[in-house]
């Protein structure tokens, strides 16, 4: 590939291109888990999440020269991944979506065994509406503070806090119901 680049654009530019590719590949390896996890926790579909994460990185490649620092890159990736998640969810909305409020109470007890509980919480999260779901992911996957979430998702901090409060209350209620059912 480098040989053909040298022929096409000359040595200095080919070297710059090669450097750019190497730096980009390092960035993909560093942030792939973050971007993929945002998409996976939001969409709950491994293949679609990988496809979306790939698209996010391809967009990063196109905007590579505009990225000023590692922090800027992380912020940019979270922002673009979130935006694409929302777009993807709107396209898939036709699927039989039931909101968490409307979802029936679970009738099987979820033992505290981690993998099962984790899966159960993931499923509950998948029932949240799009924006609160992203807010919860940014808070508990990425560990962001409400002000940082507000910045990534372009919304007021008060809205972030209210989404967090309502979503947590709802998730906690569903989870405790499942646990109570199992114990009785």
């Amino acid at each position: 590939m480098i040989g053909s680049l040298v022929q096409e654009v000359g040595i200095p530019q080919a070297v710059a291109e090669a450097d750019r590719s190497r730096a980009f590949e390092a960035a993909v390896r560093e942030h792939q888990a973050m971007v993929f996890s945002v998409a996976y926790h939001f969409l709950q579909d491994h293949a679609v999440a990988e496809e979306l994460a790939q698209e996010v990185f391809l967009e990063l490649y196109r905007h590579w020269d505009e990225i000023e620092s590692r922090e800027h890159r992380i912020h940019w990736l979270r922002k673009v991944a979130s935006r694409r998640c929302i777009d993807q969810a709107r396209r898939r909305k036709l699927r039989n979506h039931v909101s968490l409020e409307e979802a029936p109470e679970p009738f099987t007890w979820m033992p505290a065994a981690d993998p099962v509980l984790k899966r159960f919480i993931e499923q509950l999260l998948g029932k949240l509406a799009e924006t609160p779901r992203l807010v919860v992911i940014m808070r508990y996957q990425e560990g962001l503070e409400p002000a940082e979430i507000a910045d990534v998702l372009d919304m007021p901090v008060a809205t972030v806090k209210s989404h967090l409060q309502r979503s947590l209350a709802l998730l906690r209620r569903k989870l405790s119901f499942a646990t109570r059912e199992g114990e009785s």
Partner: protein
């Protein structure tokens, strides 16, 4: 365990497939499509579309011009007819007054 900790554990980051980065790199650095060919086709399509639009616009303008001209002719004819009628009516009126 605290509920928020449970949430944190459920939302731990996961790795994508092992070949994820390689697939991204392959897509990012794949050779671009031959631009000349693409642009030749795009330009041809755009040219045809523009010609069709201009043609349709020309026909519409011509049609409107024709309708306006016909309207003007009809209006002139009507005025002429009214003048003739008015002249005749005046003559008849004079005759009627003469006989009285």
């Amino acid at each position: 365990m605290d509920f928020e900790d449970q949430l944190r554990r459920a939302l731990e980051r996961k790795d994508p497939s092992a070949d994820f980065a390689a697939r991204v790199m392959a897509r990012a650095t794949q050779p671009k499509k031959p631009l000349a060919w693409v642009s030749w086709r795009s330009w041809a399509a755009a040219g045809i579309a523009a010609s069709l639009c201009l043609g349709a616009l020309g026909l519409e303008v011509e049609h409107r011009r024709k309708v306006e001209q016909e309207g003007r002719v009809a209006s002139a004819q009507l005025m002429q007819a009214m003048k003739i009628t008015s002249a005749k009516l005046r003559r008849i009126h004079k005759r009627v007054q003469g006989t009285l």
